[in-house]
């Protein structure tokens, strides 16, 4: 019982990260119908920009990351770093779309996919240059001390055990929830959101109806990148040992989030959130109850199963190809 509760808590935290990243995949796919391979690299950039800013700002506000007795950083520091990372990544997302994807708007989808892989490789390896983030892993200073919020005593196989719910997990779930509700509002309640849905439904018809398609697509990329940056920031909070930008853990993180988008039904905003939590549950419970070495295998096995049984995902609708 205690194990279950602990795993559930991790699932919620990790699931909201996956959901945030999956939203970016799903929005771009919904509109442009291609997998934005470079999306996971925006997450990486979000995490590393957060790291770089933290390292600069810590001395500026009189903190020492290497001294364990140093006082806990104020909350506004974390918030402003989050906002800075979000703004920076939105701009990068805008630039990528403008210069790499927009010229290929009419090209076969495969070409766009290959370009996206190219952009992904480029971001990874630029990030790894020594004058950028460098080719070695770094330790993110704690922006948030992991205060124990609740301690529950639950029965377990070896007697009662304590389940600790920490501030970091709650912060991750809370921040993600706020962002997701904001996105939901934006997509379903505002003019821009309506335009986005129209473009995703039929790009050419929307253009004929006077919707500024290019601008809407830019917004979509910036929005997706913003969420990815937030996810990167939160990821760095949860897992402070940051791998170098081209490390495979990042590729896997992006892939799993993409799998979440597919499982929820690609193009479907609510599906992406659902998919994020499903993936996290499969991964975390599989890791805990079966074997943790194969956690990635469970996710991909689920992906292949879903694609073969219900290619449109859990919440997606089947689209008949016109012949």
């Amino acid at each position: 019982m205690a194990d279950f509760a602990q795993t559930l808590m991790t699932t919620l935290a990790v699931g909201s990260l996956y959901a945030l990243i999956a939203l970016g995949y799903t929005m771009v796919y919904g509109i442009l119908k291609f997998i934005n391979f470079a999306h996971s690299d925006i997450v990486v950039l979000g995490a590393w920009i957060s790291f770089t800013l933290t390292r600069w700002l810590f001395p500026a506000v009189g903190l020492d990351a290497h001294n364990p007795d140093s006082p806990a950083p104020p909350l506004w520091l974390g918030a402003s770093i989050l906002i800075a990372a979000v703004v920076a990544c939105s701009l990068i997302g805008f630039v990528i779309e403008r210069f790499a994807y927009r010229p290929l708007r009419k090209a076969p989808r495969l070409n766009v996919l290959i370009t996206a892989i190219g952009v992904s490789l480029l971001l990874q390896n630029l990030g790894q240059l020594s004058f950028m983030f460098g080719p070695s892993p770094q330790k993110m200073p704690a922006l948030l001390s992991n205060v124990e919020l609740w301690r529950l005593s639950l029965p377990s196989s070896g007697g009662a055990r304590n389940v600790v719910i920490g501030l970091v997990d709650v912060m991750i779930v809370g921040t993600s929830a706020v962002l997701m509700i904001a996105l939901e509002f934006l997509v379903f309640r505002t003019k821009i959101g309506t335009a986005m849905r129209a473009v995703s439904y039929d790009l050419e018809a929307s253009a004929l109806m006077g919707i500024p398609v290019d601008r809407i697509i830019s917004y979509t990329f910036m929005l997706g990148s913003a969420l990815a940056a937030a996810a990167g920031f939160l990821y760095a909070l949860k897992y402070p040992g940051l791998n170098q930008p081209a490390h495979t853990t990042w590729v896997l993180l992006g892939l799993k989030a993409f799998v979440a988008a597919v499982i929820g039904g690609i193009g479907n905003v609510r599906g992406a959130v659902l998919g994020g939590f499903v993936i996290a549950a499969v991964e975390q419970f599989g890791a805990y109850y079966l074997s943790s070495s194969y956690r990635d295998v469970y996710v991909f096995a689920l992906l292949i199963a879903i694609l073969l049984v219900r290619p449109s995902g859990l919440l997606g609708s089947t689209v008949r190809e016109k012949v």
Partner: protein, 383 residues
Amino acid sequence: MRKPNPDTPFDSPTPPRERGLLGTLANSAWPILLGIALAAALHYFWPLGPGWLYYKKVVLDVGIAIILAVSLNIVNGMTGQFSLGHAAFLAIGGYTSGIVTYYGSILLWKSTDLHGGVLGPGAWLFVFACLLGALVATAAGYVVGLPSLRLRGDYLAIVTLGFGEILRVVLQQTNPILSPDQLDSSSLKNWLPPPVGGAVGFNGLPTYTTLFWVYVFVALMLVVAFRLKRSSLGRAMISVREDEFAAQAMGVHVARVKVMAFMIAAFFAGLAGGLFAHESGLILRPLDAGFLRSLDYVIMTVLGGRGSISGVVLAATLLTVLPEYLRDFDQYRLIVYSLLLIGMMLLRPQGLFGIHEIWDWRPRWFTRKPQTRSPSNEKRGAA
């Protein structure tokens, strides 16, 4: 070589003469015999000396890259399916053949040293191992090909990518390699999962990979690729690439063609895996099954051109040789690759040679006639 003649685009339809098994073999086997001769020449006339040893390694690497890129091109270029998991077949072939040569050598000769030269007993064990690896990879190709029946484009890319990543994770969980002494006292626990080195990689394999064997297999690959391209099956593959729906309406069994493409490609990737595993100075690691290595070969096919065999051979050669000269710039290698990919897609998405072979290309002023090859002289490429 006959000149292309539009009036008679086909060989005169003579009824098949009975030429007997030997005659047929002689007729169909000459390109491969030529390939064996060239490979042998390369092997035996390769100069000695330390400097040449280095070039030899580069030439070996080029040969292996050619096999992998040309085989991937059968799936990605000719059939138009987008696989991002080609390295998985390399790993399957490499690990399978490694198990055979490593543990086979210990069983046969009580050590993992080399036994015999190019045609010695050890080399035959090695060739058997490579073929077995290729067959296991073919079976995997069948399994990976199945999703291609239901999924298109990027979805298929993700599934093949996922396959490679799963394999990588599984390979990381394998047992440590058993030395000859440990072999006798080993229990089932050491064998499940197989003792192929886990995350460290499968090292200590006998280094049977020589210029001769690499280029014999390169010749085999090229003969198969060119014969496939100008055959009913090749046409069917191209039709699936261009318009799956119309292909079906013309009687092409699309499912069969796709799975066949995956299986043929996997066979040769498995073969190349065997060569890769036994090359001196290389260690087969779980990472070799993963996405990044697959990407190397994808880039070669994209650069060479979708379906252009000679273009892909050229791209594989260039992209293997150039990094050797740019060793100091290793951190920039992938940046150059990525810029190449993006630039190609923006400026010349069909690749350097598109669907044409290098020799199809001539300056436009060279002749007024369109330069397409006559169907009757397709053998030219095979040699």
